[in-house]
Each structure stands twice: as C-alpha cells, then as structure tokens.
Amino acid sequence: MNNRPIELEVTNLCKYFDAGKKRKLKAVDDVSFVIHKGETLGIVGESGCGKTTCGKTCIGMLPKTAGMVKYKGKDVHSMSKKERFDFTGKVQMIFQDPYASLDPHQKVYDIIAEGIRIHKLAKNQAEEERMVLELLDMVGLNAEHAMRNVHEFSGGQRQRIGIARALAVDPEFLFCDEPISALDVSIQAQIINLLMKLQKDRDLTMLFIAHDLSMVKHISDRIGVMYLGNMVELAPAAELYKKPLHPYTEALLSAVPIADPRASRERRKIMLTGDVPSPVNPPAGCRFSGRCKYVTEQCMKVRPELKEIEPGHFVACHLHK
C-alpha cells in the first residue's frame, strides 16, 4: 500500500497503571501498528479506551510497561540523553486544551521561540526573529501578534500558537492529542484545514487522536479503532467507513449523528447496550464480548488477534478469519 519507509513502529505495546490494591489498569494492552513517512494515522475510540495514553507512550512521554516503540528504528524508551534531545527536535505534540498548554506569563514570541532557543536553531537574534515571524505567518497569525500576551487570544488562535510552537523545531512527526475537541465548530474546521495543509507542505507524519469520527476520517489516511486498551480494527479511512468489519466499529460508526436530516432518518442505527467495562478488570477473551450481539463462546475465552483480512485492513474479531 504505502511504499515509503516506516517512521514509527509499535509492537505489542502495553501500558498499565497502578490502580491500587495490586490491581492494574490496563490502559493500553498489546497494541501494534506502524506509521509510514508522510502518513496520517487516526486513532478513534470512546473515552477511557486508552487512545491518548497510547499516543503519549508512543512518543516516550510515558514509560512503557511492555512491548516496543521504534522511531526510525530507534527504541523510543531506551534513548541516551543526547538521543532523547535529538528526538524532541523531530517529534512534537499538539495539545488538547489550548488554554492549559500555553504559559500564561509568556508572550507569543517567547512561546514560539522556545524550541528555537533550546535547539539553537538560529544563529543570531535577527534569524530567530525571522523564523518566529515565518511560523506565525504559516499558522495564519501575523507579526503584530508576536508581542502580545496569550490572554488576548481566543481558543482557535491559541491552538494556532500551539501549532507554531511545535513546528518551530521543524519536526518530522506530529502527535495531535484531540487538538480540536475544545474548540467551537466553526474554529475546528480552521484548525483541521491548517493541519492538513501543513502536513502536505512539510511532509509531516501524523498520529491524530480524536473522538470526533467525522473529523478523523477527514484528516486521516488510515484509522485505528481502539476499545478498552485494544486495537480492534485498523484500515484505510475510506474503507473503514464503507466496510467496517468489527462489530464495535460498525456500532460506533452508526452512532455518529449525521448533519443531514434525510440521511439521518434513513440510516440504520446499531444501538449498543450497556456500558464500557472497567479497564481495571476487563473481560477475558474479546474485550467487546459483553456488548457484542454476535458473541460466541470462543469470544469469551480467547482474545482475537489483530489479523490482516484484506490487504491493509486489519481486524481483531473471531467472526473474520
């Protein structure tokens, strides 16, 4: 499918948190995927499915419990100090909350210049200034904004500043952790357009996490669906929406309301019953077995592996062999 080199390779990654009383909260359990250079991989799932934890562990912000994450062939979790520093120059992150992610006591200029200064990318003051102004322009702000305080900006503008900060070190890989969920609808589209344009212009590789399925579909090349710490399906975006193979994906997609009254009326909705079980004590076998209408005895006992059913379309379900 994609012949470009693999940028990020995640194999059997596990991330458990201590939940007290010797119990483990299995936020991410045995997840594997690869992201190719220049590709956007979206990860969707409901709250508590471990998508954010998975992303943070992938870029080394959280230590792993087991498994392996390799960025360009190097293990992310066993880097030397020097390697780690170089890694920060290549892998950057966009945060969910545009209010919490910018230091309220700094000017926009200093926020954006921070990465340039840390990585000593500018030879002198003039070059630094030029770089910051270029970045501002790139994210749709102008020079006049540079000397302002972050208080003066709206959510969408702050998110642009956050993007400029991440781009300052000229990264190759961008991890977007729900970058639009805190924004108003009309602003969401602005940020999505900006991210897509930047990705194209700079050939960025992106890991995009969100719970808004329509936005994820719009921005991603491939999409992984997570449920209770497991990756249950992984497929090219269009194919996943056209032909969901996993019963959970099917239900998730059908539950997304569509902004079109006629289409919405004609759709067949698959109602899931019950709630997501606790990740502290997940069901044995398939994690979705308790809510799945096709459940068999095998599902309760054996956890299905993520298998390639069709070229590029992976699913973890006993229904598909």
């Binding site: 409901e46 009309s186 357009n193 897509m196 329509s214 936005m215 009254p261 109602m271």
Partner: protein, 343 residues
C-alpha cells in the same frame, strides 16, 4: 399559531459586569410548539444557554431581563411570576437537564430520594410516600434503567455516565412537565451512549408528549432530533425554520457555513472544509449593523451599518440577512437568497 406552548417576544438579557453591559441576548422572538423539538444552535457565547435560563427564571445577578421582553407559557406571562410561582413552575411545568449529570445530581443523596424530591416539592398532598416511590420506579423503568428497585438505593457515583444521564431525565420528567429544556444533554457522553440517550428522549416525547428545547452545537444531533431549528449568532436569531428547510435551504451565510464546516461521515470528500474566519464580536459593544458582518465573505456596505430585519420566507422559515433583499449583490453566494445578480 397552532398549539403554541411557549411564545417568546423581544427577549433581551444583559449581564452587568464591571467591564460594561454584556448584551447576551438582544431582542429575540420565537415560539415552541407542543410535543415538538426545537433546537437552539450556535457557538459558545451566542446566547443560547442564557435564553434557556431566562425561560426557567434562572437569570441571576448581575444578569437582568430587560424591559419589553415577554415570555408567554401556555398563555401566561412568566416574567411577571413571583418567586413562589416560579418554584411551582420549575420542575412542575418546565424541567431542565444538563450536560454533566455528575454535577447536577447531589453526590450525597441516594437516587431514590433525588427522584422523589422533585415530585414531593410539587405534591399537593394527594400522593402517599408509597405512591411516590412507585412513581419513581415507573419513571426509572421508563428511562430504561435495569433493576430500578436496586437503583433507588444507589448513589450517583455508583452509576455510569449514561445511567446518570438517564436518572437525570427521570428526575426531570417525573412531574410530567409540558416543556423539557435540554442544555447540551449529550456533549459529555461518548457517541454510542449519546445515541442511546437521544433515542430515549425521542421515545419519551412520543409517550409523554412534552415539548423539548434542545440546546446544542452538534449539527448531527440537531438533524436527528429537531423538528424546528433556531440558529443564533451573537445574541440574535439569524435564521429559524423547519429542520429540513434549514439543512437543505439555508438562507444565512452563517447557517450555510456551519452546515458545511463539519465533514460528512457518509460522504467521501477530502476537500478543504468551509471555515468561518475571525471570532465572535465583543458583546459589550455589539456591532452597529449585522453582527456577522466582520466574518461574512459576502458582506455588503449596508451590512456594517444597519441590522437586517427578520424576513418571513413562508412556512415558518425566517432569516435576518441583507442578502435576501432583492437589491443585494449575490454573485458567488453558494446558497439560495432573495437577492439578484448585480453586474
């Protein structure tokens, strides 16, 4: 009007802060029909939540409903209510559900007590404690809670998010109000749970026949739920009408942009999304003309100077936009307007 439940006329609400008078709602008029769902749509700060608070008599200092406003509920003027009348109105005739059930439910009180409380407050003595309990159980059954008997003895934190939202709906509906105001009822929920709750609300409306005012920014939810839609921007109604009219025949550039700024899950297009540049205006000094003027790609000179009148397009579809004036320059406008092409 047939079957009108609520009739709002010229409602204005301002908040007097020390930065100045924030004009949250600026003279809006609309009505809600019995047994129908009316959706209030708009971005945060557009005044939709303030409008719902005004309907419930919950505007508190420094907020104030301005002179000349009128809210008729079943033929009575609610803005003249005394505090005692408000108390019997709230909960009895008009109930509200909120975004976050965990905050709205008292964490130290058992579910049973919380549900019964609303009914007890409005009980004229005709119901015994046993009957109230029976009614609470019926209500929990109605909102689809398995084993309602056991649920009565639980505390809110013992329930999942979806279940809490169901309990909140049960609490609101136990007095059989004729109007239910739902303020972003599913925003905090996951999509699969959201689908369950929306289905439940539709189902309850069929069974109990209440009118619903639904406040949301999610157009998908609106398309699915609403009979009528009111689009608000900067404290004013820019467009209102039947669900399909708004979705398939938007007449206001703001409505049009909103509809096209969300990618469609069921369609395959990777084109650039329609965006609305800029941000909402400062409501302390609202613009002289149309509030959307600064962000509107089709703004004309008149838009900056004069607030457009509300035009009735027939069949309940109204719009407030100069593009619908016959003299307007509508070249390049991607939706239908009442204007003509200028060359």
């Amino acid at each position: 009007m047939k079957n009108t439940l609520v009739d709002v006329k010229n409602l204005s609400v301002s908040y007097f802060t020390y930065a100045g008078e924030v004009q949250s709602v600026r003279g809006i008029s609309f009505s809600v029909e019995n047994g129908k769902t009316t959706a209030l749509v708009g971005e945060s700060g557009c005044g939709k939540s303030v409008t719902s608070k005004a309907l419930m008599g919950l505007i508190e200092k420094p907020g104030k409903i301005k002179e000349g406003s009128s809210i008729q509920f079943g033929g009575r003027e609610v803005l003249n209510f005394t505090e005692a009348e408000w108390q019997s109105f709230r909960g009895q005739e008009c109930s509200m559900i909120f975004q976050d059930a965990l905050v709205s439910l008292n964490p130290t009180m058992k579910i049973g007590r919380q549900i019964a409380e609303n009914l007890e407050n409005h009980n004229d003595g005709s119901l015994s404690a046993g009957q109230i309990r029976q009614r609470a159980i019926e209500m929990l059954e109605l909102v689809g809670i398995p084993d309602p008997d056991a649920c009565l003895e639980k505390y809110p934190h013992e329930l999942s998010g979806g279940m809490r939202q169901r309990v909140m709906i049960a609490t609101a509906m136990i007095t059989n109000p004729s109007l239910l105001i739902a303020d972003e009822p599913t925003t905090a929920l996951d999509v699969t749970i959201q689908a369950q709750i929306l289905e439940l609300m539709k189902d309850l409306q069929k069974k109990l026949g209440m009118g619903i005012i639904m406040i949301t920014h999610d157009l998908g939810v609106v398309a699915d739920m609403a009979d009528n839609i009111i689009v608000m921007y900067a404290g004013k109604i820019v467009e209102s009408g039947k669900n399909e009219d708004i979705f398939y025949d938007p007449r206001h550039p703001y409505t049009w942009a909103l509809m096209n700024s969300v990618p469609r899950l069921d369609l395959d297009n990777k084109e650039e999304l329609v965006t609305i540049e800029g941000t909402i205006p400062d409501m302390i000094h609202p613009p002289k003309g149309c509030a959307f003027c600064s962000r509107c790609p089709y703004a004309m000179n008149v838009c900056a100077e004069l607030i457009p009148e509300v035009t009735d397009l027939g069949d309940g579809h109204t719009v407030a936009c100069w593009l619908n004036d016959p003299r307007a320059d509508i070249s390049g406008v991607p939706f239908r307007t009442g204007g003509a092409h200028h060359e």
